[in-house]
């Protein structure tokens, strides 16, 4: 018990919350574009965004580490323009986890939007409503289950992230040592007692999150709902 600390959890949740908000804002327009387009570049974009699902997190982490370091063009640019250090910082981990969790937000939104009948959108347009008004009043309310799934899964997936954070962020207390990394360190220190507590908390959290997703999905699929 002597090593128990809420900080890694708070850090995990802060990271997950900001990642989820950023990804939602970014995914809505992109999912909309992808759901409406017949462009031939669509599979390319989809495959690119889905890569984190199949890639080992270390691969993504490795290239992000290389790209964000102050010797690479991206890292150099950010350093010079904004004096931002991204490697081994919270901001760096945030960028990494946004990329890593992107498909988990985008895919549910896109498939929800693809199922909205074109007639509903046309009905909105002939009623004089702009595309933005249609998005806010017709499309987003029409895909509530997809939004919930996307938001919850993205949040949970970010909390459960390990490899990418370790590669890009290392394990700096209060900055990048999130819950999953803290467990790894505790095991290395042979503090199994605290590792158990941390792990059980994450198991309980993940289970509850998944339960909520399934309960909500059932409720939305119920007749008349």
């Amino acid at each position: 018990m002597n090593h128990f600390d809420t900080e890694p959890f708070l850090l995990s949740f802060r990271l997950a919350a900001i990642t989820t908000i950023l990804l939602f804002l970014f995914s809505v327009p992109l999912a909309w574009k992808l759901s409406q387009t017949r462009s031939r570049s669509k599979p390319f974009v989809e495959a690119l965004i889905s890569l984190p699902i199949v890639l080992p997190p270390t691969v993504l982490g490795f290239y992000l580490l290389v790209a964000l370091s102050d010797r690479a063009p991206v890292g150099m640019f950010l350093k010079e323009m904004f004096n931002m250090d991204l490697v081994f910082t919270f901001e760096g981990v945030l960028i990494a986890s946004c990329i890593y969790s992107f498909p988990f937000m985008l895919q549910p939104l896109q498939s929800g939007m693809e199922q909205i009948p074109a007639k509903l959108l046309e009905a909105s347009y002939v009623l004089g409503k702009s595309k933005l008004e249609t998005l806010l009043h017709v499309i987003l309310p029409g895909i509530k289950p997809s939004i919930l799934t996307g938001v919850i899964i993205t949040f949970a997936h970010t909390v459960g992230e390990f490899g990418v954070v370790l590669m890009v962020g290392g394990s700096i207390q209060g900055e990048t040592r999130v819950a999953s990394i803290a467990i790894y360190e505790l095991v290395e220190l042979l503090d199994y007692g605290t590792a158990h507590i941390y792990s059980l908390i994450l198991i309980a959290f993940s289970f509850v999150v998944l339960m909520v997703v399934y309960v909500l999905n059932h409720r939305y699929r119920a007749p008349g709902g």
Binding site: K119, A123, S124, Y125, V126, G128, K129, G142
Partner: protein, 303 residues
């Protein structure tokens, strides 16, 4: 006064190859015009072009003196108003009600005009159901919501794409009366895609008959059905439910719309007819006749 002038051309992809939708038509203000023809003849596309949801390839569309679309062949349109700029009322096939909004919500989404919404709800008899979501409404009720919603913006032009085809006869008749009322009360010009000859006859003052994208007939329903048809005084399409022997004659029970009628048929006629046949019941002078329904009886659903 001319409401719509449409001289338009658009290439359409059909099951039997590509063809051109080509219209050259003027529609007077205030009337109800039927757009009829076989499926795939371009009826829906014509309505979509008027509402701005589909762009024609070339031509000129003028509504109440304003140009809504203008393009010369092979060039980008000089003008193509967006659907949002046209303020056309559209009732879609399948209603297209917003499932996340109540009946009243659907109306108010079109325009934040509570007085108009109340007036329309009264008119289509949906006051009691105004807080209900569309998924809990019957087909006829949905259709009325769609109609009321389309009128919220006080459109000058109302386009209906087979609005009544999915409804039963009594509901159809009621909504037809409502359409007539709306046409009179709001002075709105109505274009309606329909297959139903009785609907054209009851509602419309003009029929545009489309075939493979061309207007092959442009006339009044009366001319189309009655004068071209026969010398009969009246003729109704119906379905034989039963033929029964009564004393020395046979009596056919025929369903015509909502009504069941009994018509005496002689034994020769009886030989050709059986229950389930679609027939025309007509009369010359006094005695009604029943004969098999034939193509010349203008079944638009089979054209």
């Amino acid at each position: 006064m001319i409401m719509v002038f449409a001289s338009l051309k658009k290439k359409l992809v059909g099951t039997e190859g590509d063809f051109f939708l080509q219209t050259d038509v003027e529609i007077a203000s205030g009337g109800i015009t039927a757009v009829a023809g076989p499926s795939g003849s371009g009826k829906t596309t014509f309505l979509r072009i008027l509402s701005g949801l589909t762009s024609p390839d070339e031509g000129l569309l003028e509504v109440e003196g304003d140009i809504w679309f203008r393009a010369t062949a092979g060039k980008k349109p000089e003008l193509d108003l967006k659907p949002q700029q046209r303020r056309v009322g559209v009732v879609f096939q399948g209603y297209a009600l917003f499932p996340n909004m109540s009946v009243l919500g659907n109306l108010l989404y079109a325009s934040r005009d509570m007085d108009m919404a109340e007036k329309l709800l009264d008119m289509v008899g949906l006051q009691q159901l105004k807080h209900v979501k569309p998924s809990n409404l019957s087909g006829g009720q949905k259709q009325r919501v769609a109609l009321a919603r389309a009128l919220m913006q006080r459109p000058r032009l109302l386009l209906l794409d087979e609005p009544l085809s999915a409804l039963d006869e009594s509901m159809k008749a009621m909504l037809q009366d409502e359409l007539l009322k709306i046409n009179r009360e709001f002075g709105v010009t109505i274009l309606i895609v329909t297959h139903d000859s009785s609907e054209m006859y009851k509602l419309c003052d003009r029929v545009l008959l489309l075939e493979k994208g061309r207007i092959v007939a442009d006339t009044s329903p009366r001319k189309l059905f009655v004068e071209r048809a026969t010398t009969q005084k009246f003729a109704f399409k119906g379905e034989i439910l039963e033929i029964k022997a009564v004393d020395a004659v046979y009596v056919a029970v025929v369903a015509i719309g909502n009504n069941l009628v009994e018509v005496v048929v002689d034994s020769d006629e009886k030989e050709n007819l059986r229950a389930g046949d679609v027939v025309v019941v007509g009369t010359k002078a006094f005695n009604p006749t029943v004969r098999k329904f034939a193509a010349k009886d203008f079944d638009f659903s089979k054209l």
